[in-house]
Structures are given as structure tokens and as C-alpha cells.
Amino acid sequence: MSKRTLRFLCPNGHLGFAPIQTESFYLGVATNPDVILADSGSDDIGPGPLGADTSTSPRAWQAHDLEHMLLASRKLGVPMIIGSAGDTGTNSRVDLYVGMIREIAARHHLASFKLGYFYSEVPKESLRRNMEGGETIEGLDGRPALTPQELEATDRIVAMAGIHPYTELLDRGADVIIGGRGSDCVIFAGPAIRAGYPEALSYYLGKVLECASFNAEPYAGKETVIGEISMEDVQLTAMHPAQRCTVASVAGHAMYERSNPFFEYVLGGMLDMRQCRYEQVDEKTTRVTGPVFVPARDLRVKLEGAGKVGERYVGIAGVRDPYTVANIDRVIGWARQQVRARLGDSGYELYYHVYGKNGVMGDLEPLKDAPGHELGIVVYGIAPEAALAEEVCMMGTRQMFYARLPEVKGTAGGVAFPLDEVMRASPAYRWTVNHTMRVRDPLELFPLHLVDVGMPAAARRG
């Protein structure tokens, strides 16, 4: 190993979702980091983008971050790595980012560099063959094993890569890597492990650095943090002048958006954080030691899949009459019954979210029997065909107007409409796959590509 430590610069925990704040990014760049990297994916955004193969992030914001990162990486001559391209890490999102990298390189006349990328989509057909061959696609988080029916209902599946595509592409000489779907932490762990640092510290570095400034305080998103790994520890330093990485903020982040703060699972093993020790090193830096990596006996890759439920329309209504507020369940019951009378019991879905009662929390709401003085009701109609979804939503919304409440004083309309229409929304999807599949080779689902980008030296001189 040529250096005693390796320093990682992370400006964004979900590249594209909101643009990076450039002040702290360039303060970080000025410290000469060894790698510049960010994850760009999340399953927080719901199943729609994966199912429909779109991004939830605007293209301009994706390009903004890629441009700052690419120019800094080329100027410093250090690798740039992006994981889970374009929110979902599907093949089209990888191609989108690869295209942006080419375009940015051309626009800035960048010197030639090697761009590595890999795909993560798993064809339904290959999963079906595996299942027919007797392989069990095991459910996560209490889900049953994947059934042929659920597979059939799925539009698109991605596999979560481990470190392997990243280390392999770096071995082949990649200067810039655009990854398909993968675990957040592996973009950091890959280069660290490849450089000879312990697996446990390498994965831990990724675990606490992948959301950038969410591991610092006071709370601020999209600010740059530097993570430094040595053979003995990981140190996190906030780059924003007003932010600090403290024991509380770093430890607090280790448990962020995970069911359990002690264990992190990746393709190839599990990071055990039960013995982690946190120490404040200076005002802006916290040091962590003690994580343990437990290699997996079986290689099981996590799969994410989304399937379309139907076309979707949305309607809105309000209620102010206290008697109607108190009897809102009967109003909705009437409207539902009218939809059933016209369209039958099945072939569509109809949902009511009653804001002011339990619109945010549904059945988890402890105060659902103490509604506010006015209610806002959002109605969703979903059906395979747009025309039916529209009719379900329109009838489900408008029939609240005609609800028959015996004691109501107002007899000219039971609800208020801010708009006398229903609006077409994006199609409804659901997560059909949250499962794991056995693989023999950690690279087998992730085809690798390496291309030359930028201008050869001769052309630049010309």
C-alpha cells in the first residue's frame, strides 16, 4: 500500500434528488481526496420509478452533480464512482449517466479517461428458469418466497451489487465508474478493500459516509463530508464550515433508515457494528474503531422488483359541517357503495385518505377518533384501463356530495370540491420483489463494460 490512509470525498447521499451544495464540495476537493464518490439510488422513492423505468430526480440536477464531480476528479486525477445510477440503477439509468459523462467530457474537452460501467437488471426469464430449476427466491422482511404469480406481476427487477463490479472495473483501469443498482456502502468499500484496508473498516466507512452530511450536525443535506480510512480506524470530517461530525451524529447515522443499528447486510457478508467505539478527535472529526465483518457462507444477492397495478386518478374533497365530519366513514361508505353498484366489487381499487382524521397515519393513528374541524379527503381510483380508473375516482369523489346522512342540516351538497374534476396521476406500482437469490459468482448478474471517453492528447493539442 502506497499511502497510510485513503481519503474519500462524498458530497451527496442521493445524487440527483437535490443538487449538491458546492461550497463545502470545493473545500473538500481542496484537501486532495483520493476518491470522489456518491450513491445515486434509493428505494425510498417508492416502486414507481423502478416499475416505469424513470428517474424521480430531474435530469438537470443529475447533470449538475456529475459535472462538478467529474471535473474535480479529472483535475485531481483520482477515481470518481457513482452507485445506483438515476435513482433505480436500471440499465436505462446507467446509460443515461454514461451519456451525461460523455457529454460533459466533450463539452469541457477533457483528456481521455477510462469509463467503466455495469448493469444490474435481472431478466424475469432468468429468474423464472432459476425457480423452475428448484431455486427458492427467499423473501426478506417477513415476505414469503417469490411465487410465479408475483414474478409474472413484476415489470422490472434489479439486483443489489456488492463491491465486486467496482473492484473489478478498478482493476481493469477505470477512472470513472457508473454503477447499476448496488448496496450504498459498496462504492466506498470496494476501493478501500482493493487498496488493502480491512473489510470491516471498509464497509463501515461506506455505511456512515453514504449519506454525506447526514452524519454531521447541525442537520443539513447535500454537504460534503470526508471519510478517511487507515488500517486501524475510520475518521469522518465535515467540510461545511458550520457542520461537525460528532460522536452523536456519526453513531446516530449508523442507525439511520435501518431496522437495526448493529447489522448491515451486503452481498458476501454482514457488518457487525455491536462493538463499534466512537471518539471525538477534534471539533469536526469523529473516529470509529471496532466493526467486525462476517463473511457469508452462501452468496445471496438482494433483488428489488416493482410491478404495475394500474392507471391512477386522484380526486379531492373537503368537509366543514361538524355532523358530516363526525360521520365521515358513513359518507365514504355511501360513495363506495355507489361505485360497487355501478362497477361491481372487483377490477379496480378505490382508496380514501382523510386528512384531519388519519390521512397521514391510517390505522396507526391514535387520534383518529378526534378529527379536526375540517377534513380534506384525497380519493384514488386505480384500474387497468385509464377510462375505468377515471370513472372509479370520479364516482368515488362525486358521490360523497350525495351522501345520505339522516340528520344533516345541509342538503345542497355533502362535501366541498376545490376542483370539480379528477386528475390523472402517474400509474400505480407496488413492490413485488424484496427477496434474495443464491448466486455462485458475485459478478454473474452484473455485466461489466469499459470504454474510452474524452479526447486523446494529440487531438487536444490540435
Binding site: D43, D44, P47, G252, P366
Partner: protein, 105 residues
């Protein structure tokens, strides 16, 4: 007695994958954290009662000493963003925790 909202620095909820929501209650100092932990006001049973769910819907419940935090995770009644879901990020499910009354000796 004191409300949890006055004792905790952070009370938050967030998706933990697509099938679960996780709740973090983080304290500013170790002393407050230990007092709340010892009080028995926040337990697997008490949060199950508060959210009116069976304890089997709580997948994890841990005290996380390094962060002075109590953390628990519940299974969603439907995956995030599915038809009928009201909170795609699971970000607004923590509010009932704020009003938990903690008996302090």
C-alpha cells in the same frame, strides 16, 4: 413526569427498506437517555399499545448506547408507495411518540 418531546433531541421515523418503518428517539446527553431507558415508558409493549399494533409487528427494539438512542422498527401494513400507502418515506409516523409521558424519579 415529562413529555418525551421535551427530553429527546431527535424523534424521527423513516423507511427501513420497502416493508418496514423505523423509529429513532435520540437524546442529547447520556444521563437523560439512561433515565428514560430506566423509566420503562418506552418499551416494545408501550409502543405497541400506542400504535395499537400487536407486538409481533415490531421487528426490532433496541437501546443503542453509542448514539444515546432508543430505536424500534415495525412492519408496514403495505409496502411503501403501494396503492393506499399514505407515507412513501415513512417520515411522519413518529408524532404520537412526542406525547409519551415519562415518569422521572
Amino acid at each position: 413526569m415529562a413529555k418525551l418531546s421535551t427530553l429527546a433531541k431527535t424523534v424521527r421515523s423513516k423507511n427501513a427498506g420497502v416493508d418496514k418503518i423505523t423509529f429513532d428517539v435520540i437524546f442529547r446527553d447520556r444521563e437523560t437517555y439512561e433515565r428514560v431507558k430506566q423509566s420503562g415508558a418506552i418499551t416494545r409493549a408501550s409502543v405497541a399499545r400506542l400504535y395499537r399494533i400487536p407486538e409481533t409487528r415490531i421487528s426490532d427494539f433496541v437501546a443503542f448506547d453509542p448514539a444515546c438512542a432508543i430505536k424500534f422498527t415495525i412492519y408496514r401494513d403495505r409496502p411503501s408507495g403501494s396503492p393506499g400507502d399514505t407515507d412513501i418515506f415513512g417520515a411522519q409516523q413518529y408524532a404520537p411518540l412526542l406525547d409519551i409521558e415519562v415518569p422521572l424519579k
